[in-house]
Symmetry: C2
Subunit: 234 residues, 2 copies
DNA sequence: CGAGTATTTGAGCAGCATCAATAAGAGTGG
DNA sequence: CCACTCTTATTGATGCTGCTCAAATACTCG
């Protein structure tokens, strides 16, 4: 049941965030840092729906996503649950928080993680400057994701929010089939709603609306064929 | 006209973000880094409403805010303007973007900045590990601000968004008088609206509503006395 | 003081939330 | 493999919140 469907173990040097020019650290140092991290990391597989860490827990570990997908949840005092982000391979969990995790991480599908003790990473960072560099890039990636999230939430209508979400999501090669244009949703209607700031009934209704307008075609609840041209157009 | 009302020049070592435990770098290194940065930085004063940098411009400089307040604007293709953040002394501008600035920075009041050439900071960072550390902390600060922003935008009603905004804002000591409980708004109704994802008419109406409920008392358009206890209660 | 900008206020409507009921899928054990 | 249960998704009816367009008022700055 916990058996992952992952065919191969992704090497850590795929983690580098390419959205920023390498500032001063040469690539060799980053590679060195990755292999150093690889040595102290341990492989960890978690089944779908399992919790990797909980908001408020002592933040002892950081995790590199090798494969799969996760959801970051933030529990509000008023009882609402907010989805802060969806995470894909190449991203890192647990580097932002200080002594305790500021949010929870939940596996959406079976995931393959590399777990590293935070203190070990910090010790290692003293000898490998590439590590700090890598963490800096990961934080930039988180920040850009947050900016994107804010832009999505600022859209005036639920329809444009959802269209923006689908277009962003379709950039994930493991869940969007370019040939068939079919997007596999790894998250529920409620997850999407909690991410975009709406109710899951509205999410469902907008999916329906998009189908009547031929923007999308529902294969089943979790498989949706996109009409990318039309979604990008209006 | 460009004369700043700032009484003193804030030393750079006030910049350290205290929300995270110092990982491994001892404080002495951070101080060293700050004085090194101080040497290559040049003082810059900008009047209220002036643009520090524009979205899309070549990101040659980073700025440390010594005093004043700024607004980060993101221009969308559809013509809407989004306020991504309000920045206060101690924060840094321009470290997130890569080769071009991803958003614009506008002075809300007269500001005093320390301007540093990005390339010079990168060169200096090779000798002073504290610099990378400081940048890492600043990115964490940006990310936490973004998380807060997302939480605010997720609130179900415009009233709770605005209350959340006022409570967050009242943490700024230079604009909230603890004794009189008066908050000085450095931003317009439209700025607040563009930050929270609503129209400025709604912002105005909610201010009115909060006054009728005795949650706030308007001294004038830009001076508002808060009834903090009532705002925190419901 | 006057022109331009920011804010307030009003009326009407559209979109989304709420509550509620049904339908479709997924998971489980016989 | 099927029947049963539990979860997830859809659909419906209704009311309220906040948007739109429009006008009036307050404030700012030269």
């Amino acid at each position: 049941m916990v058996t992952s469907t992952v065919p191969y173990s992704r090497p850590l040097h795929n983690l580098e965030y390419s959205g920023e020019h390498a500032p001063s650290t040469p690539p060799s140092l980053v590679e060195e840092a990755c292999s150093a991290l690889e040595r102290i990391g341990c492989d960890l597989k978690k089944p779908a729906k399992s919790i990797v860490f909980r908001q408020g827990e002592s933040a002892d570990f950081i995790y590199f996503i090798q494969s799969g997908a996760l959801r970051l949840d933030y529990q509000l005092e008023d009882g609402r649950n907010l989805v802060l982000d969806f995470l894909w391979p190449g991203r890192v969990l647990g580097i932002v928080e200080n002594d305790v995790y500021a949010w929870s991480a939940i596996a959406l599908v079976d995931v393959h993680l590399k777990r590293l003790r935070r203190s070990a990473v910090q010790t290692l960072a003293q000898n490998y400057p590439g590590i700090t560099d890598l963490l800096l890039k990961q934080k930039t990636a988180s920040l850009m994701a947050a900016k994107n999230h804010i832009i999505l939430m600022s859209h005036p209508t639920a329809t444009s929010k959802l269209i923006g979400f689908l277009l962003d999501y379709s950039k994930q090669p493991e869940y969007f089939n370019q040939a068939t244009q079919v997007l596999t949703l790894v998250m529920s209607r409620k997850d999407i709603a909690d991410y975009l700031g709406m109710t899951f009934e509205t999410t469902s209704r907008i999916f329906k609306y998009l189908e009547t307008k031929n923007y999308i075609k529902k294969i089943n609840h979790r498989q949706i064929q996109l009409n990318t041209r039309m979604l990008l157009d209006p």
